[in-house]
């Protein structure tokens, strides 16, 4: 199979206006992935499926990732006037990058026995712009997996035929796989607690009698 850079060039030629980016992967697996902007995701994936050299006819796995808001600190050397003389002073600058949710699709070709091509869609943020495009119109098998991502991460899939919770009950309000999820406080009986369970179980310990 061609490299992802070549595929990206061909997709850009076939789908005008699509904004693509490649996420490199430095681990031994070395599987880079293709970030697609949600408005063009359907067209891009349809190209990946129908192109005679790729024929990605099978969505093997669909999953979600939660990226929290990040604050990175950078140290910069800045020249400043101190007591009339110019000196180099170190300053730390805090940069905050907003978080986002991500839907990841692993596409394989059954016909040509090749793959995977990893396609990612990112939401605008983690609170109110949480929509991506559903790929269920192209891969029917993605239907339940997208429902599961909606259930556990809270990503909305535009164009999904039946977007309901699938594992948790309908009245459930939280999204348990998000990194800022707080599980219900039912740690009242922990015979052998340790680590963070110990912290949570301590809150249920009876108050010490005054001695």
């Amino acid at each position: 199979m061609e490299s992802l850079d070549q595929i990206k060039l061909r997709v850009e030629a076939a789908v005008p206006g699509a904004q693509l980016a490649i996420v490199p992967n430095d681990t031994p697996a070395n599987q880079p992935s293709l970030v697609v902007d949600p408005p063009h995701a359907l067209a891009v994936v349809r190209f990946l499926r129908d192109d005679p050299q790729l024929r990605m006819d099978y969505a093997s796995n669909v999953t979600g990732v939660d990226w929290l808001d990040k604050v990175t600190k950078e140290k910069l050397k800045v020249k400043k006037l101190v007591d009339g003389a110019e000196k180099e002073v170190e300053e730390t600058i805090e940069k905050s990058t907003p978080g986002y949710l991500e839907a990841v699709y692993h596409l394989y070709s059954m016909a040509l026995k090749q793959g995977p091509i990893i396609v990612r869609q990112r939401t605008g943020n983690r609170s109110n712009q949480i929509s991506v495009t559903s790929l269920t119109p192209i891969y029917r098998g993605a239907e339940f997996q997208e429902r599961e991502i909606y259930d556990l991460y809270g990503i909305l899939f535009d164009g999904h035929p039946d977007l309901r919770r699938i594992l948790m009950w309908d009245g459930f309000k939280d999204f348990p796989m998000r990194k800022d999820y707080v599980p219900p406080d039912d740690f009242e009986y922990e015979p052998t607690p340790h680590d963070d369970v110990l912290e949570r179980a301590r809150k249920h310990y009876p108050a010490k009698a005054a001695s």
């Binding site: 594992l167 948790m168 459930f172 309000k173 939280d174 348990p176 599980p183 219900p184």
Partner: protein, 207 residues
């Protein structure tokens, strides 16, 4: 009746018995030798339960081979596997639909305490938060021998049941409710997280 008089009479070929003993003998022994379990499994423990009922371990030796698909015909609930919070109301509902007298075996680490999934947001930390459990079997999953041992333990327990008196069974006591309330699906957890009438968190002495 005096024990000495009773012994004397039995030497003369006259056997005496209390009504209570006769009832216990007929009633309890017939029940304990024909336990009909409810046929349902929740996770991998169910595979061991099925193995127990088949030829190699042969639950039929204890008279309990008739697994019933309807709760109306069953008198033993074997909670075999992880009870998720979404499943908990259904398990309690099945228990409510069983006729008295009924018994519960909590099979495996998950049914006892949540087991390896204990800290999961969606796992009930033991079915005894909602149902009165008669026999707990530890193990992950317990071997069929352990389930057989639980059956023998339950049979001993049924044999010790008295029909009258202060330790009469639950179903003979009018003040005890016949049904247990179903937990409701809340916005963050099931409500209530446990039935206070059945279970309270044990108070443990901590340093």
């Amino acid at each position: 009746m005096d024990e000495g008089l009773r012994s004397e009479l039995s030497k003369q070929g006259i056997f005496t018995v209390k009504m209570q003993e006769l009832l216990n003998w007929g009633y309890n022994s017939s029940r304990k030798n024909s336990i009909w379990p409810l046929q349902f499994g929740l996770a991998c423990c169910a595979i061991e339960m099925i193995a127990t009922s088949m030829a190699r371990y042969d639950l039929a030796r204890f008279g309990a081979e008739v697994f019933r698909p309807s709760p109306r015909q069953a008198d033993l609930m074997i909670v075999a596997g992880t009870v998720t919070k979404k499943m908990a109301p259904q398990v309690v509902r099945l228990y409510n639909q069983m006729p008295e007298p009924k018994y519960v075996i909590a099979m495996g680490a998950c049914a006892i305490s949540g087991g390896p999934f204990k800290q999961g947001y969606n796992v009930l930390k033991g079915i005894d938060r909602f149902l009165p459990v008669d026999v707990h079997i530890p193990g992950c999953p317990p071997r069929p021998e352990a389930l057989l041992h639980a059956f023998m333990t339950l049979q001993r327990k049924i044999d010790g049941d008295s029909l009258f008196g202060p330790d009469k069974p639950r179903h003979a006591d009018e003040s005890v409710p016949g049904e247990y309330p179903l937990p409701a699906f809340g916005e963050h957890d099931i409500e209530p997280p446990y039935n206070k009438a059945v279970w309270e968190p044990p108070v443990m002495a901590r340093e």
